[in-house]
């Protein structure tokens, strides 16, 4: 990354003028506290990640998958992080940073609720008042996560504008921030948004590959041949890749949600997938230039995935850049393959992955023959949040390795 917040032509700061001082202030804080460890910020961050978050997470050899695929499959267990996903690495980093910056309030938006719950946890832990914006429709689809946020003392604000989903929640959070920049920090949930967010979130998540690289040396005696991670916005992805990017021998695979099809429906403005790296075009969204799912005139398309955490029309600008540079290979698996991956890991290794994560295992199941040697798969999160969708989506399809779930046909 160059210091101007660009990754090649990607990135930048395409935001309303009113937010510029806030992101400049944040950029300054990022440089000082994160990059230069001023006041021991990074030390405190790492210590809290260990004590509160449960780091390091294991790098576990998946014996049964290794046998099945004739590979050395290793799992980086972010599902064991407090909250059940890698999201806390970033949320804790940003809430702590907000404290160092003297902010006294946190806001965030959330779609599926994973980033919201991580932020609410971090805010409770660090005693920061926290408001989470969430589309009304998403609230109704993700009630357990809403409840978790409220239990942690966050104020969950339903957003009724538009369709009541993530995009409206993002606008609403921007709106709040634009009015409160001086006291408030906006915790963005992935490696997206204007600089410094993509770089900063990557740096908070990079602990994943920092640990994995070291653990690989211990357990594999060297570097892995490939690293695989699912990609929505791309924060677990960049976290898992960051410390391997300079190791040219390590292949990096970003697995996107292929949804029901990679083709788009221009008419309806709908892409039945969330594969912006694989199929998107360059454009400007939510503060950054990156690869997007958009129609021919530049309206953002509604994306789709069975996993709400991957269901986003954009992707982190650094990933877009690394794909253009041929450093990261973008791949996509469809909803069915993701469900197959979900059941495979659950049955074979006793780990129920998030549906997001399941895409990485769907890729492994479909393409293991193209891989060789040792593979690290980032288990970005656990699937407890997805049980209901997994039942419904599995029932609606023919998934070869699905268990009999007839007893759940009326829901769980």
């Amino acid at each position: 990354m160059s210091t101007d917040g660009k990754f090649g032509d990607y990135g930048g700061q395409y935001v309303p003028e009113a937010l510029m001082p806030a992101i400049e202030e944040l950029d300054d804080a990022y440089q000082r506290y994160v990059l230069d460890n001023e006041d021991g910020f990074m030390d405190e961050f790492r210590q809290r990640l260990a004590d509160f978050g449960g780091r390091p997470t294991p790098l576990q050899r998946a014996d049964r998958l290794s046998e099945r695929y004739d590979l050395d499959v290793y799992l980086k267990r972010e599902d064991l992080l407090h909250g059940g996903a890698h999201k806390l690495n970033n949320a804790l980093g940003q809430v702590l940073l907000a404290k160092y910056m003297g902010k006294d309030r946190i806001i965030a938006e959330t779609g599926a609720g994973q980033h919201g719950t991580a932020t609410a946890m971090a805010a409770a832990h660090l005693d920061m008042p926290c408001t989470i914006y969430m589309g009304e429709r998403d609230i109704n689809r993700q009630r357990p996560n809403v409840f978790r946020m409220k239990l942690n003392g966050s104020d969950v604000k339903p957003v009724t504008a538009g369709r009541g989903t993530l995009k409206e929640a993002i606008s609403e959070t921007m709106r709040d921030w634009a009015a409160t920049v001086e006291s408030t920090h906006y915790v963005i949930g992935s490696v997206v948004g204007p600089h410094p967010f993509p770089a900063m979130v990557r740096d908070f998540q990079a602990v994943i590959s920092e640990e994995a690289r070291e653990q690989a040396h211990e357990k594999l005696g060297g570097l892995p041949d490939s690293v695989i991670a699912c990609a929505g916005g791309g924060s677990n992805t960049m976290g898992a890749f960051a410390n391997f990017v300079d190791d040219d021998s390590v292949d990096l695979y970003a697995v996107e949600a292929g949804g029901s099809s990679l083709a788009v429906d221009e008419e309806a403005g709908v892409a039945p997938n969330s594969a912006s790296l694989s199929t998107g075009d360059e454009g400007v969204l939510h503060g950054a230039r990156t690869k997007l799912l958009q129609d021919s005139v530049g309206q953002i398309m509604e994306s789709h995935s069975i996993s709400s955490g991957l269901d986003y029309a954009g992707v982190g600008p650094e990933l877009a850049y690394l794909v253009d540079e041929d450093r990261v290979t973008p791949v996509a698996v469809d909803d069915d393959a993701a469900l197959e991956g979900f059941h495979r890991l659950s049955q074979t290794e006793g780990i129920i992955p998030a549906l997001e994560t399941a895409h990485a295992f769907g890729y492994l199941e479909e393409h293991h023959a193209e891989l060789s040697g040792s593979v690290i798969v980032n288990v970005s999160g656990r699937g407890d949040k997805d049980l209901q969708s997994a039942i419904e989506e599995t029932e609606a399809r023919e998934i070869p390795n699905a268990p009999d779930m007839s007893m759940f046909s009326e829901g769980i």
Binding site: Q13, V15, E17, K167, R175, G283, L292, S296, V297
Partner: protein, 288 residues
């Protein structure tokens, strides 16, 4: 840097009243009637919003207008058609988000970049642009295209904009600066912040017209702001509210248009009134 003559003319004989509407809200024909009503009501310049699917800088009033307009089928090409067909005699400024400007070239089979959009805008009679998510630092390609076609590029100055950022912006701005009255996003509010006064003072050294917007909803406010030194007032949400009320109560288009015209008259009158007060103040000061 080119200066658009029509816009310059609009500020020439005193402060300008600059209303905003989202084009296509709630449909093409009604929207045309509404924009024409604003002109009738005394608009000096009209800001025409080309709806973008992710309007991150808007308050919920305008966001909802944009949703209605998109659902009504508004597209960049329909927007240009709309402008072409519009029967008004005031300069028109296109307000939209950068991605639509950037992608237009590609949609016509060419390269992405702002040129194609600006060329077409110039063709249909647009005089300038406001692009709320385009910071001055990223604006050079659009600025260059505007220069080529004699269009203005308006920047928004926030209460917090100062120092180098302000310089960069003022180097690239033309037509007028959009002075954001207070922090936050668009939306009708009743108080007139004294952040506005400070902003106007900070901008005094540049002689580009300063139009104040964000939260202005009455002729009174308009008068006070202009009296305080603004060269124009920009009113969006207060007008969009009238359109929304019309939609919600299924009022006939011409009735809503008439209400818009009436509101425009109030705001235009406020603007003139403010100018008169300021002249009187200046006269007072002169005579003191």
């Amino acid at each position: 840097m080119a200066e658009n003559e029509a816009i310059a003319a609009a500020f020439a004989d005193g402060p300008a009243f600059i209303p905003y509407l989202a084009v296509g809200d709630p449909d093409y024909e009604a929207s045309k009637a509404y924009v024409e009503a604003l002109a009738r009501g005394g608009a000096d310049i009209i800001e025409l919003g080309l709806p973008f699917s992710e309007p991150i800088a808007e308050g919920s009033t305008i966001q909802n207008a944009i949703v209605r307009a998109l659902e009504g089928g508004m597209t960049p090409d329909r927007f240009f058609e709309f402008v072409e067909e519009l029967d008004v005699d005031v300069p028109l400024v296109c307000m939209t988000y950068y991605n639509l400007i950037y992608q237009y070239g590609r949609s016509r089979g060419g390269e992405p970049g702002p040129e194609a959009f600006v060329e077409r805008a110039a063709e249909v009679g647009i005089s300038g642009f406001v692009v709320p998510d385009l910071p001055a630092e990223e604006a050079d390609p659009l600025r260059a295209a505007c220069d080529e076609h004699g269009l203005d590029l308006v920047f928004i100055v926030a209460p917090t904009t100062e120092g180098d950022r302000l310089e960069e912006m003022m180097e690239r701005v033309s037509g007028y600066v959009y002075v954001q009255a207070r922090l936050g996003t668009t939306g009708a509010k009743t108080d007139v912040s004294d952040q506005t006064t400070r902003s106007l003072q900070r901008l005094a050294e540049w002689d580009v017209p300063k139009a104040v917007g964000f939260g202005i909803s009455s002729g009174d406010q308009a008068a006070r702001i202009v009296a305080n030194g603004a060269d124009g007032i920009i009113v969006g949400s207060a007008l969009v509210d009238i359109v929304a009320a019309g939609v919600n109560s299924e009022r006939p288009v011409d009735e809503t248009a008439e209400k818009l015209a009436a509101k425009a008259r109030e705001l235009a009158a406020g603007t003139r009134e403010g100018a008169a007060r300021r002249n009187a103040d200046i006269a007072d000061a002169d005579s003191a």
